[in-house]
């Protein structure tokens, strides 16, 4: 092999005094107007973690209210506002930008061997657009927060007195941020790959980002126009979605899900992309089925556009539509399965080290498989009629979003933390936090599958007594989960001050980012990187 293998201890000193993207320029202004994708990534990271904390606090309130039937800590109106904010913040402010805009922004150009994204100014603009959108969303809190659910179904949303306009306007603005990030990434991947890096040598993280970006660019404008129509409906009373005025409320649902189903793949594909990086590194083995994993991302992105109607099996759409949507839903499950099998096969005969990022990857496999397989219940017409809008759906999507994407995101955060900050976190605390999260998560949401099957509807502030034990159990789980994240916040913040300096390549990875100092210099590499081999070619 043509270069030296950088092992975990040898290069600690080499980075100690060198200039990097953090200390290259100083002062607040140098961050505010930076065009460096790494700094923008870090600013995104801070913002989305804040959003996650906010959304998580809302979740804890939701769970606390549900610990017993009837009023526990808040009335129905407040409850409805809290779960709406929880859903909207988690989706629009946290999970959609999470991996692409924060970790992706930081890592994608480095993994490609580029100096920056294709359009650095656009990149900074999309960050500020994100901030403005986020302000609108959170400001709606002060003006009587929206109480519509994150789906904003008409005609409820157009008739309720709460600040739906501010919330949807926020989501509308956030959409542009998402579009610009996607557009930027596509151009970067197409045009800025290092010499020698063919499509077939591109790390799978980049493939995942590519598929995600395609969806962002194609689906998000439709969300934009949907929300615009909704706002117009509310402000001018146009009547497109309101049966009283001659409109069709189900049309809104088609519009909304045409974006929001592909959006769930905007959420999961980046998570899968991270897992595809972590598993080979910590198994010290070539990824199994590179091509299958890369192409299945693209397949998911494409088929994912044709299944939106599976959210509307009980909406009164025609049987034919139901049949087609159900069938395509099943088809889109296959590429996900292919990925899962390939990851497991990668571990076969490897050399598996159980560092924190790998623990997250294993947790992902466990949880995403449950989340995905329960998606099959929901794709099945007659079974979904029973399960639709019950806690079964709530459990399904938390398993894929929280157990899938969020777990993968934290896996990625731990994986790249040394690269981003130049510091190591406490491995033992990290393992404890990971275990707490894993246990807490299952306690919280496994119960909800049973609740849902037994008929507990979602978005219920109050419930019939028979559901109480399971709800209480779930609430306790949410506290364990919260504890896990609190611990994580603690040791990550502590590592910034007291963590030991990270080497250039603490995990023995062979992709580009591990060949440049931690943290990377302002232009990512001190030399011009050239790809001569595939991204997962470990020495035997």
């Amino acid at each position: 092999m043509s270069t030296k293998y950088v092992d975990s201890v040898s290069s600690v000193e080499s980075t100690a005094h060198s200039e990097n993207y953090i200390n290259a320029k100083k002062g607040l202004m140098s961050w505010i107007v930076t065009l460096d994708h790494k700094r923008i990534g870090v600013m995104y990271l801070g913002s989305i973690l804040f959003a996650f904390m906010l959304g998580g606090l809302m979740a804890l309130l939701v769970r606390l209210e549900l610990i017993a039937p009837g009023r526990t800590i808040m009335g129905p109106k407040t409850y409805n506002q809290v779960f709406t904010l929880h859903g909207a913040i988690m989706v629009f402010l946290f999970i959609i930008p999470s991996i692409p805009a924060a970790l992706g922004n930081f890592m994608l150009p480095i993994l490609l061997g580029a100096k920056d994204v294709a359009f650095p100014r656009l990149n900074l603009a999309s960050y500020y657009i994100y901030v403005v959108g986020a302000i609108f969303c959170v400001a709606s809190l002060l003006m009587g927060a929206a109480d519509t659910g994150w789906t904003f179904y008409t005609p409820y949303s157009t008739t309720t007195g709460t600040s739906v306009v501010s919330m949807t306007l926020g989501a509308f603005i956030l959409g542009f941020s998402s579009i610009f990030t996607g557009l930027n990434f596509i151009a970067t991947i197409h045009k800025l790959r290092a010499p020698g890096m063919t499509w077939g040598k591109m790390p799978l993280f980049c493939w995942g980002m590519y598929a995600t970006s395609v969806i962002q660019v194609i689906a998000t404008p439709v969300l934009g126009i949907t929300l615009l129509l909704l706002i117009m409906e509310k402000v001018l009373g146009v009547g497109i979605f309101d049966a009283k005025l001659g409109g069709d409320p189900v049309l809104y649902q088609h519009f909304f899900w045409f974006y929001s189903h592909p959006a769930v793949y905007i959420m999961i594909l980046p998570g899968m992309a991270i897992i595809s990086e972590i598993i080979p590194v910590f198994s010290h083995k070539t990824i199994f089925g590179y091509r299958a994993i890369a192409l299945s991302s693209v397949a998911i992105a494409i088929i994912g556009f044709l299944v939106w109607g599976h959210h509307m099996f009980t909406s009164g759409q025609s049987e034919l539509a139901g049949m087609i949507f159900s069938f395509l839903t099943f088809l889109v499950a296959i590429p996900s399965g292919i990925k899962v099998f390939n990851w497991v096969a990668t571990m076969y005969k490897g050399s598996i080290s159980l560092n924190t990022p790998m623990l997250y990857a294993l947790a992902f496999l466990f949880l995403f498989t449950i989340g995905g397989l329960t998606g099959l219940f929901l794709g099945t017409l007659s079974v979904d009629v029973h399960l639709h809008d019950t806690y079964f759906v709530v459990a399904h999507f938390h398993y894929v979003m929280m157990g899938g994407t969020v777990i993968a995101f934290f896996g990625g955060l731990h994986y790249w933390w040394p690269k981003i900050t130049g510091r190591m976190y406490s491995e033992s605390l990290a393992k404890i936090a990971c275990a707490l999260t894993f246990i807490g998560f299952n306690v919280t949401f496994l119960t909800q599958f049973v609740l849902g099957s037994r008929g507990m509807p979602r978005r219920y502030y109050n419930y019939v007594d028979q559901f109480q034990p399971l709800h209480a159990f779930s609430t306790v789980g949410s506290w364990i989960l919260g504890l896990g994240f609190l611990l994580m916040a603690f040791y990550l913040l502590a590592s910034l001050k007291t963590g030991k300096k990270a080497s250039d390549n603490p995990w023995g990875g062979v992709t580009f980012e591990w060949q440049t100092p931690s943290p990377p210099p302002e232009h990512n590499f001190n030399y011009v990187p050239v790809a001569t081999h595939g991204p997962y070619e470990y020495k035997s």
Partner: protein
């Protein structure tokens, strides 16, 4: 042998259809368990077996296996196609209601369910149906979208404004069944419940004869119910305010001036006449033709009940 090992996961099976849905649920469940154990089991085994000790050495670097990859793509494909057809088939089997169904209209509004029977009986928040007879619900909403969910029948359908949707079931288990609203509709969403009672054929008959009440309900209580469920309250207040019609407060024994110059004392006959033929005597100051006739819609017992109710409104 009990076919339904997952019975504790599901509510009571209130119909044959519920059983067929559960069977499919059960099939997908065990299939999922097999896949889950396969995946997580091999993962755990690999972690245990190939745990790293020291520097990695002699790791075989293979990157694909065509036969294996085709296998694990095609087998799930076949399985999902089976699930798809099964689910589609059971869905379609329960879409078209039989012609002899009992048709009940369902009106949803924030935040209550109202039921109307073919004979005009209306009930609020609860309804009865006979066992073993197919029941078809024809539903619409006054305001936002609601959704009618009968967990024990494994049935659910959205209820939309400006449009009718239908749902049917054939109950096989007597007793009470819960109805939920499962489309978010605002503050009262979680209280928007109703109760279905499946009666034996005889008991159902008795119930419907009694205007949708048990036969031993006191008359004035029945009257109070009818006052609301037959919408008298939209035009007649009980607190003295004037709406579209005269208030019922203190109506019993009142002397009314009738358009045309006569007067009349409100008694049994006058009330009966007002309800069955409202235009016969129109109260002065009110418009003729506003009040609809309830001829054929209110049974004798029900008119008596309203009269008893009026007597209580001092």
């Amino acid at each position: 042998m009990n076919m339904f090992l997952l019975a504790p996961f599901m509510p009571l099976q209130g119909s044959e259809y519920a059983k067929s849905v559960d069977l499919l649920y059960e099939f997908i469940f065990w299939l999922g368990v097999v896949f889950f154990i396969g995946i997580v089991g091999s993962m755990a085994y690999f972690v245990f077996k190939y745990k790293r000790v020291g520097e990695p050495r002699n790791i075989p670097q293979f990157s694909h296996n065509f036969a294996l990859e085709v296998t694990w793509s095609v087998i799930p494909l076949i399985i999902v196609i089976v699930i798809f057809f099964w689910g589609f088939d059971s869905y379609m089997s329960n879409r078209i209601a039989p012609n002899d169904s009992l048709e009940i209209k369902v009106y949803a509004k924030k935040w209550q369910w109202e039921f109307e029977y073919p004979d005009g009986t209306r009930t609020l928040g609860e309804f009865h149906v006979p066992k073993d007879k197919p029941v078809k619900l024809i539903m619409s909403s006054d305001d936002v979208i609601h959704s009618f969910f009968l967990p024990t029948m494994r049935q659910k359908m959205d209820v939309l404004p400006g449009r009718y949707t239908t749902l049917w079931f054939q109950p096989t288990v007597e007793g009470k069944h819960q109805v939920f609203c499962t489309e978010y509709c605002g503050d009262g969403h979680s209280e928007m419940m109703a109760e279905l009672t499946v009666d034996s054929q005889d008991k159902y008959k008795e119930w419907i004869e009694n205007g949708g009440l048990d036969k031993d309900t006191p008359l004035d209580q029945l009257g109070a119910r009818l006052y609301k469920s037959r919408n008298c309250n939209t035009c007649h207040s009980i607190d003295g305010t004037r709406i579209q019609g005269p208030t019922f407060k203190g109506i019993w024994g009142r002397t009314e001036r009738i358009t045309g110059g006569t007067t009349v004392v409100v008694d049994e006959n006058y009330v009966r006449e007002s309800v069955m033929d409202p235009n016969a005597k129109v109260v002065e100051g009110y418009e003729r033709g506003v009040m609809p006739t309830y001829k054929g819609l209110l049974k004798d017992r029900e008119v008596n009940a309203i009269i008893e109710y009026m007597k209580t409104l001092k």
